[in-house]
Point group: C2
Chain length 155, copies 2
């Protein structure tokens, strides 16, 4: 089994997946606890993406823990291809949702100054959620590239 | 010289670059001709990305035409690496700008129904511009992957 940092079935891979879970949960919590988030499509879309990300990362973290405990090799071409394809799809979802929400937050904060005019709107929560979503995306991209690198080395 | 569809220095590559130019120009024109676009950060960011895309695609289209006329081989590892790296950066820029603008357009159209309440706001122009920007991004992604595929086959 090749040792590529962050690839499936390694300690670093598991840590990466668990940190994705932590950041995705934190981002979801920051968004959901903000007043008025559900009125805006972009924030709703971010929440859907975060939950998708959370489920996928949790599933792979469990798989990694299982493989590490039982010394099972996850680096078969079929398994890697499946993981890398879904990883890239999830990463693209996360990135688009983070960009969409960032755009709306910037609009509220600086374009129309709605946060000052209407203090009940939870702009700080939205901002925090967007930053955490970008960190989640970054970690997800790291996992994807690590798997992809391993997959390329098969051929 | 390997013949990968859409790679630098081929007819299909040149057609891909020229269509990127056409769609990027059309998207910029649709945005600029809409009243009130400059008040919003996301639309401004889309315009900057589109102009960047236009310059890069035009430069590579000229390079392709030059290479095809003079039968020059553009498929050296250095040249490809340079093109693929900038291609991916431009594609990420375009995608983020398109998502950000799409989010704001959806907000105007369906979240707060600002387009009905304030008909002077050029929502149709914004919508058209976003669709064209996504097509540009798709063509740019095709170019990037074609170059990347060629680059991988070098190693």
């Amino acid at each position: 089994m090749k040792r590529v940092v962050g690839s499936p079935g390694t300690w670093s891979g598991m840590v990466l997946r668990l940190s994705q879970c932590v950041f995705a949960s934190a981002s979801t919590f920051a968004m959901v606890s903000g007043f008025g988030y559900s009125n805006y499509s972009a924030f709703f879309y971010l929440n859907v993406s975060l939950i998708l990300q959370l489920m996928w990362s949790l599933f792979l973290a469990c798989k990694d823990i299982f493989a590490l405990r039982n010394k099972k090799d996850l680096h078969t071409a079929d398994n890697l291809l499946f993981i890398v394809l879904i990883d890239f799809a999830v990463a693209i979802f996360m990135f688009s949702a983070a960009c969409a929400s960032a755009s709306l937050t910037v609009f509220f904060m600086w374009d129309v100054h709605l946060c000052k005019a209407y203090p009940r709107l939870a702009c700080r929560h939205f901002g925090l959620s967007v930053v955490l979503a970008f960190i989640t995306w970054f970690l997800q991209a790291a996992s994807s590239f690590s798997g992809f690198w391993l997959l390329v080395s098969f051929f």
